[in-house]
Subunit: 476 residues, 2 copies
């Protein structure tokens, strides 16, 4: 964090992403304000971007111009907009092709649904109660919810849920339900939990205790147990990660429950499962511990734009029906009650999900999960063969490895990084060919970073374990 910048002027610790070549910056991109000279770091250097609060940087911006009076006759406006969109589309194709770091399945075809883009579809409030607003897609939404409730073994008449805007909304919702069930409960979450969990604690003014993790990224239940014993007087609300964001680690749900029971918490706990990505993959992995409502969990959330693939972020939230009353209230205006976070909800997302689930079915997902796990193993093995330290958790398709030294390379492949490590999340849209192309480029670049005694790769044993690190010290 580089000081405070309350006056809104730009603070320049940051390198700015270069524009894709298709764009003509002179025509449509606003120039950097004059204060912004001396931007740190040259192109392609190893310098990391720093994140600065309180900024308002206009590096890339398609300015909206007031139409001229004669625009309609000349057609210039339409032509201008069409050209911006065409170039933008080209850049999207290129960016989609080189994407590896985020757990989004970019491989989908929703052409059949283009006919619906013309409608303002809004699922206000509760999916199970008709609102007076008729342009909705509850029929599809409830179909999708049923599918997930079945996947996680909760009876149709015992669940409640809704399609959210993203994984964050799912976590916000699950933790809020937990707090309403146990108003004085303490929130426990491993330190590798998604940042939205800690955001929730702050928003909701909940006491929050961070629990340590193992090298794999899983919650350390010894530490968890010790912290529970120090706070026996208050109920526990626990976020369990079904796939952590960075390492794809799956918390051991059974051990979490056992730890709670051994610490005397019996029925004074609420478990929310953040299954953003693996919540949908796990059920199809043999030998994986089961996420199921037959165990004493309260809610599960999963993202719809990740493994399923969807043009916009969305998610699925399933919880026990008897808990939702803690949250909901009457809202006559909508002729609906409101137990959601958002109220107005995107009605297109449920149709996208319904379409894919219907086409692929449980069997289709199973096949895709198997393919992802196979490809992830391939990537990890090839990295190690090339002398690059890498880790792949058993139930995961997230391959963690040393952070590439060149930030331009990181951005080109859109890798997500944290500290000294980066990761690739192998999704159905990530083929062996794409991985090969990435690997070849990495190996080639790496020779220029570390060849000729220019330095050595950093040790990342503390991140991925001694047995996975291949730095100078650990490779022997």
């Amino acid at each position: 964090m580089v000081g405070s910048v309350g006056n809104g002027l730009m603070d320049l610790g940051e390198k700015v992403e270069p524009l894709p070549e298709e764009f003509d910056p002179k025509e449509i991109v606003e120039p950097l304000p004059t204060e912004s000279n001396g931007v740190g770091g040259e192109e392609g250097s190893g310098k990391r971007r720093e994140i600065v609060l309180g900024r308002n940087v206009h590096t890339m911006c398609f300015t909206i111009k007031e139409p001229d009076a004669d625009d309609e006759e000349t057609g210039e406006r339409e032509a201008y907009m069409a050209s911006v969109l065409a170039r933008y589309r080209k850049s999207l194709i290129e960016r989609t092709k080189h994407h590896l770091g985020y757990p989004y399945n970019l491989d989908f075809d929703y052409g059949a649904l283009a006919q619906l883009q013309h409608f303002s579809i809004n699922n206000l409030g509760d999916p199970f109660i008709e609102s007076n607003y008729g342009v909705h897609s509850r029929q599809f939404e409830v179909g999708v919810l049923d599918w997930f409730a079945r996947l996680w073994e909760l009876e149709k008449n015992e669940y409640w849920g809704y399609i959210t805007n993203c994984g964050t909304e799912g976590n916000l919702h699950g933790i809020l339900v937990g707090r309403e069930v146990f108003p004085d409960g303490i929130l426990y979450a491993s330190r590798e939990s998604h940042y939205s969990v800690f955001k929730a604690a702050r928003m909701y003014r909940m006491e929050c205790i961070k629990v340590g993790t193992l090298v794999s990224g899983e919650i350390d239940c010894a530490d968890f147990g010790a912290k529970l014993l120090q706070n026996k007087d208050k109920p526990a609300i626990i976020n369990v990660n079904i796939g952590t964001t960075v390492k794809g680690a799956v918390d051991d749900l059974d051990l979490v429950i056992k730890t709670l029971e051994d610490s005397g918490f019996r029925d004074r706990f609420y478990i929310h499962c953040d299954g953003a990505l693996f919540g949908l993959m796990m059920p199809f992995v043999k030998r994986a511990p089961k996420v199921t409502f037959k165990k004493p969990i309260g809610s599960v959330s999963v993202s719809g734009h990740k493994f399923v693939g969807c043009p916009m972020p969305c998610g699925v939230q399933i919880l026990r029906l008897n808990h939702v009353n803690a949250l909901s209230r009457n809202v006559e205006y909508l002729a609906s009650r409101d137990a959601t976070i958002m109220g107005s909800r995107n009605g297109h997302a449920p149709i996208f999900l319904w379409y894919t689930l219907n086409r692929k079915g449980y069997r289709g997902f199973q096949k895709e999960v198997q393919k992802c796990l196979r490809n992830a193993h391939y990537l990890k093995d090839r990295l190690k063969e090339a002398g690059i330290g890498a880790m792949l958790n058993e139930l995961s398709s997230t391959v963690v490895f040393e952070r590439p030294r060149d930030e331009e390379f990181v951005r080109r492949w859109q890798l997500a990084c944290q500290g000294s490590i980066a990761h690739v999340v192998v999704m159905p849209s990530v083929s062996i060919e794409k991985l090969d192309s990435f690997l070849n480029e990495l190996v080639e670049k790496r020779a220029t970073w570390y060849g000729d005694g220019k330095g050595r790769p950093q040790c990342i044993a503390s991140d991925i374990g001694d047995e996975n690190c291949l730095c100078g010290f650990h490779k022997n």
Copy 2:
């Protein structure tokens, strides 16, 4: 509220919306569970639906079926899905045609953007800071934000903002920023504020004081001042309605500020303006008091799917840059900081907004606002001519009138109702022809409800004022 239904069985105080005729319920709709006999109220009766918590009703649901092994060869699955979608589309056309009650502009043509539906566009985190995820639309988002900042007179380098998922997210964000600026502040909001304001207070564990309203729906500043004086020791966070949900009433921002100052609050207050609908209309209404950051306000939110029109809910949030630091924190994982509520954000919505703003410009919106106000006056006048009590606030296009007695009629025209009143929100998609068709049907039906001494319309003077009510007692 009809008791608690913790066991998930259906509780049957509610009438269920009939399926549109295009649907063949036998084929694709799940039947009502057998517990659901004796649904209250016959078709078309005047009975109001009651809202029951803890329900899970599967009245309309397109079940997702596991594909058969030979589905790919027979093509049956594809045919089934195509037929569901075609019928759904037909029902959307019909529902869109008969829509009057919600403030959504359903008149838009985004055909030029269909080419982008194929991409998973996600604006993670802060709009002004590049994330490593390349498939985003920040260039469009920042263009839209600039346009709104200019509309509300906040300098480009002094604002921060983002495109939200809906008006609710805007209110959640504005109130959260207020709370972070004044952690022990009390939230004040008129009782006619949108329900999301009170939801926020509960979520954020804030003390919340409801302020009375005038008949128009505006906040009653006498009551506000009295309540401020009783709580002088704590800062004030105020939600100001730029158009209330039900009556379209605009709180008098200047009077709110004066009341705060007269009560000795000087700089110990934060004002959030909920401009869900009128935030975008007001600037184009002559004589309307100005919403501007030249006054001591902290944030403004407006919905994108309302006056602008958009296939999915979205909104715009603009606030002062120096306030956002209270909220944000570093999140290395995204190479972005997170001062939003949602984290992952729909990247298509900014492009829809950018497209419309660019095409219409300030002048185009001005014309549409004028048309809406004209048509709203037409509707109010014709209602009164027909002997139906009605009210239209001066700066508003929301016409409030007696609640139609027949719930089927209410649902057919998708009217939003509260207590004894209903409203129509005149949007650009609501033409004189549509209003005439609605009026003719209402007048005709009304004769059957109240003709031949069958009873009288209810008095609604307490909702819309003596001078607007046309019940037996007030019409003389």
